[in-house]
Symmetry: C2
Subunit: 215 residues, 2 copies
């Protein structure tokens, strides 16, 4: 198995956590999103992933999969131990909803290509760009906090006593928030879960600082 990954990409980070939780061996192929204008924009990479985004996953038979959530759902179907989507259909919907709150409502707005468009095309100042980043990150995580506080399934992790798909998304998003100095006051549940996750080897090994391409 191979994972085209960038150490700081939070979508790559999610899949690294999922692979580690399932105890799967994989080779990381670094794709540098900044160097040389971005290796993800090369013709050869675009053939694998027309969206020119990381991660891209190659399974043992050579099948190419894109989109972090689709890759993690696939891993959960093919390597179900431990399940990232456990429980009833309602429980699974709840876990998916938490993951999508991050993957659809926070992360896409703060992706590198978006920040570039803001500064290069819209001539937004560095301060306004950072305010944009923090606005979506903080308001999105505050909504996640409210969801977690209101739900009786919230435990040591986002949905009970074992990490799920939602935790695979939460930890990289908090890492982004911290990198951009977001004010995470009032997000006690999110931060408690973040700490519990990083106590686990599967999460710690997936962290940006522990990647072969870390800078």
């Amino acid at each position: 198995m191979k994972l085209y990954s960038f150490f700081r990409s939070s979508a790559s980070y999610r899949v690294r956590i999922a692979l580690n939780l399932k105890g799967l061996d994989y080779d990381v192929i670094p794709v540098h999103l900044v160097k040389g204008g971005g290796e993800q924009l090369s013709e050869s990479y675009r053939k694998l992933n027309p969206n020119a985004l990381v991660p891209t996953f190659i399974d043992d038979a050579g099948a190419v999969l894109t989109q972090s959530l689709a890759i993690m759902e696939y891993l959960d179907e093919v390597h179900p131990e431990p399940l990232l989507l456990p429980g009833s259909a309602l429980d699974r919907a709840h876990i998916r909803s938490l993951a999508l709150q991050i993957a659809c409502d926070i992360h896409p707005l703060n992706n590198l290509r978006i920040l570039r468009y803001l500064t290069r095309d819209l001539k937004v100042s560095e301060d306004d760009k950072n305010a944009w980043y923090r606005h979506w990150c903080v308001s999105g995580l505050a909504a996640l906090e409210a969801t977690l506080v209101a739900d009786s399934r919230t435990g040591t992790f986002c949905a009970g006593e074992k990490p799920t798909l939602a935790d695979c998304c939460l930890v990289p998003q908090v890492a982004n928030a911290q990198r951009f100095d977001c004010d995470l006051t009032g997000m006690a549940t999110v931060m408690r879960i973040h700490t519990a996750c990083l106590d686990l080897d599967a999460f710690a090994r997936a962290a940006p600082a522990n990647q072969p391409d870390a800078e």
Copy 2:
């Protein structure tokens, strides 16, 4: 079953298509995203959906689900006929990836709240706002076109001869693109699939113009 929906919201539109494809009866509860500053921001709605976004789905037992993709996955597990995610684990991953290309990489960037932030907070001109919209919509749909053209599973619909989760996402995204006069030249596959979908009653009935809150 109840669906809190806004006629023009493409995330709501996706779920309406899925419910119709499965032949399920549901009541639409309109949430007007513009009127009075946005009904989705009311305290009562935020209790249901802390993200203050549509749709929100209430099942027959009163369970509250948010996030369009999580709702559609839930419907597929509980009402599997016809399946929106058919086939092998690899096929399902492919369908999810197509859906997420739209739900993560296009739609979040062009949501109403984003456009409002651009004009109100960043003082972006109307022309630049429209250019932003078209940029993400057109580049995202072009990547989707490339993926569909390259994959042998592409058929009358995104993945074969029956509509799937991917088609539930494609049609509302094309509707948005058309509303903002995006240049869809070169997207022959996307547009062919769009037409095939709208020939089906389940898609046509879900369209914004056929909603109780249509303007």
